[in-house]
Amino acid sequence: MAQLQNLPDELQLATAAHVQYIQSLDSRKDEYEYWLTEHLRLNGVYWGLTALHLLKKPEALPRDATIDYVLSCQHENGGFGAAPGHDAHMLYTVSAVQILALIDAFDELEKRGKGKAVVAKFIADLQNRETGTFAGDEWGEEDTRFLYGAFNALSLMGLLHLVDVDKAVDHIKACANFDGGYGLTPGAESHSGQIFTCLAALSIVGRMESVEADKLGKWLSERQLPNGGLNGRPEKQEDVCYSWWVLSSLAMIDRTHWIDRDALFGFILRCQDTEKGGISDRPGNMVDVWHTLFGLTGLSLLGYPGLDAIDPVYCLPKSTTERILGYKK
């Protein structure tokens, strides 16, 4: 990767600025945006903390306060809301489990929280036992994001046996399209985000046999545009977050070499705010922690120097999934 060392300054990873940016996120309580995004808080903690781990600064957010905050979002039924007082939902429950996995704090969930078994029951109860898919909460919205979330969190807690895996796998197959991709629900158009959720769910349970790797790889590789960035669907604009959805999917079918690594590096690095930290969707736009994480995971998957390795299935550092799941990829 010698050529990367010779890149101009603005194309070097601004590690220190990114760390500082993430640390500053919770000190912005005098900004209106901080309150308007409270419904994403627990996701935000997961995004920021994972980014810090990739940047090799896992201590940059205080561990105890993180655990306290996570547990303060838990409900009696085991599920987690985005912030204290917010309703329990699959999206935040998965983030909570991922955060606790990341900082090795499942024991605190047993001691001070409601415990793994109750969390797992909350998740398992959201499975539609007829179709195999999952709802996000009691109001019943269903899509493959929630199915993946359930598999992710349950497998990290070692409680996947609580759900009907075969039915869920059948449901994913029903979401497959002729182009090799997957949609939000059966019948829906292929979309990189949903391809990630479906492939990762299949990977977790070791059921990749139905994946049409060449066809899907072709579709995924066509997401790269001349400027190096990736889009999420045909004839759409590029966006840094697809560096994750597309690339992790390519990684799961062993085809990351089907796109141009250096061109994508260049695109992601051009989206940095090198001065104040953070990464945006496209060069010159507002940064946020979500694009910051998915820019970094993209760089990590392609082996950018100085970053910790990311697990393409769990979107957690490989060191975390190896510690918990006990396998090496």
């Binding site: 209106y32 109860d125 197959k173 497959a176 002729f178 979309h191 089907w258 010159g284």
Partner: protein
């Protein structure tokens, strides 16, 4: 927290801007605090709470918890008494019971106010298992119709009038709820929670309104969805929602006489994809939906082998017409590829078909003869080669040529019939030249070409 397409600005605010932010924060947090106070006391039947949710959702429609609070307000207070019981198990937040394995309406009520109402409500019908809150509940509707059936005496007559009044109240409430979300949906067309709230309202219509009335709501919803797709032709929320509406309309009785007839909308939806494609050839969402409808359309038409072959022919022509003017458009090539797959794969063992979620039959023209298939492929390859005369630098053309030739070979046919090996290697060289970003893929392609 996830900003898209917003230009980066200097993140330093002036003192005045900071003060403005502080004022807005105070207003927002006051609203939030008031709502949380009501929620802590389970005061969902207090009309003040409902109004507070209106205010805060206009400021922030992504605040999902507030949409849930609003649902609970409807169920616990605003809807007529006869309706409340149908949804009472959800009148309190985060009950730990399963949403998908038990009938929600026969559970004991966790909310005192809802319980009182439920006692007076007409007998609630259990929702079907798996009731996700998004599927129309046939049994519920049927019962509603029975409940609104003819009176037998004076008391019954009064009861009947009360019920008619209550239905009118519910209709007007649901109508105003739908209207409330429209400006929000227009401003935030990709907000999952707004779409989710509308689907809740529509499902509510099915549970509590007479079938014919509920159907009118679904019909209007399809029109709104079309409007949303005019504003953003690729919005996948709107496309997914459209399929949801169509399947609801197809599964409900469509005449007021209460007959059991249902009507497929495959023909009209197929025609809709055509109208969208005519406006914009690059609309892959429309091409995708067309691919999903094609098989069902032919089945419903009772198409014989000749009609199926004819259909395939027409669709190929439609794709080719587009390619003649826009050969760099991926959408058109994906649809063309879908059609060619129909010819090159036979689904022996049917594994392929199952993978595509198309069912076991899974092919547009399952009984094409080998001669027909060869003729189709010959013709398409020749037509695509012709494109090169005008568009020698469009890499998707070379890609298609290689792919279809290889698929032809995989049928057990000799590619010498249509191209020679030198020609294939020349196409690969063009791919490398025109599309250097995907060298790794071309390397793998070369390996598989050489292994044939």
């Amino acid at each position: 927290m996830a900003s898209h397409g917003i230009a980066r600005t200097n993140r330093n605010r002036t003192e005045e801007q900071r003060q403005q932010d502080l004022d807005r924060i105070k207003k927002y947090r006051d609203l939030d605090d008031q709502i949380q106070n009501h929620v802590r006391q389970s005061a969902y039947d207090d009309p003040a709470l409902f109004h507070l949710t209106t205010k805060i959702l206009r400021l922030n429609p992504e605040y999902y918890t507030i949409w849930n609070v609003r649902r609970r307000c409807l169920i616990s207070g605003s809807l007529s008494k006869r309706s409340a019981g149908l949804w009472r198990s959800k009148a309190s937040p985060n009950t730990s019971r399963s949403v998908t394995t038990k009938p929600s309406c026969v559970d004991s009520s966790p909310s005192p106010s809802a319980a009182t109402r439920a006692d007076r409500a007409t007998s609630p019908s259990p929702k079907k298992t798996g009731g996700s809150g998004t599927t129309p509940d046939e049994s519920g509707k049927q019962e509603q119709e029975e409940n609104t059936a003819k009176p037998v005496g004076d008391d019954e007559g009064k009861k009947d009038k009360d019920e008619a009044d209550e239905i009118a109240t519910d209709i007007s409430l649901i109508r105003s709820e739908l209207a409330f979300t429209i400006p929000l949906l227009i401003e935030f067309p990709k907000c999952y929670w707004i779409w989710g709230y509308r689907s809740f309202l529509l499902s509510l219509c099915d549970s509590i309104l007479p079938a014919a009335v509920a159907r009118e709501f679904w019909v209007a919803e399809l029109a709104l969805d079309s409007k949303m797709l005019t504003k953003d032709r690729r919005n996948f929320h709107a496309w997914t929602y459209r399929r949801f509406i169509v399947s609801a309309l197809e599964s409900t009785k469509n005449d007021s006489s209460g007959g059991e007839s249902t009507k497929s909308m495959t023909e009209s939806e197929f025609a809709y994809t055509y109208s969208m494609i005519k406006v914009d050839l690059s609309n892959f969402s429309a091409w995708h939906n067309r691919s999903k409808l094609a098989l069902r359309l032919l089945d419903e038409r009772g198409a014989d082998d000749a009609a199926r072959k004819e259909f395939l022919d027409q669709e190929l022509e439609l794709a080719r017409e587009g390619l003649n003017v826009g050969p760099e458009d991926q959408s058109l090539w994906y649809y063309h590829q879908f059609l060619m797959d129909q010819i090159t794969t036979r689904g022996e063992g049917k594994e392929d078909d199952v993978k595509h979620g198309e069912g076991v039959k899974g092919l547009i023209a399952p009984n094409l003869s080998l001669a027909d298939r060869r003729e189709f492929i010959d013709r398409e390859v020749a037509e695509i080669k012709d494109l090169l005369e005008d568009y020698a630098d469009v890499k998707l053309i070379y890609e298609a040529l290689l792919e279809y030739t290889m698929a032809y070979q995989a049928m057990g046919e000799s590619s010498e019939d249509i191209v020679n090996e030198d020609e294939m290697m020349a196409w690969l060289a063009k791919l490398r030249e025109l599309d250097p970003l995907r060298q790794g893929r071309w390397d793998d392609l070369e390996k598989s070409l050489k292994s044939i």
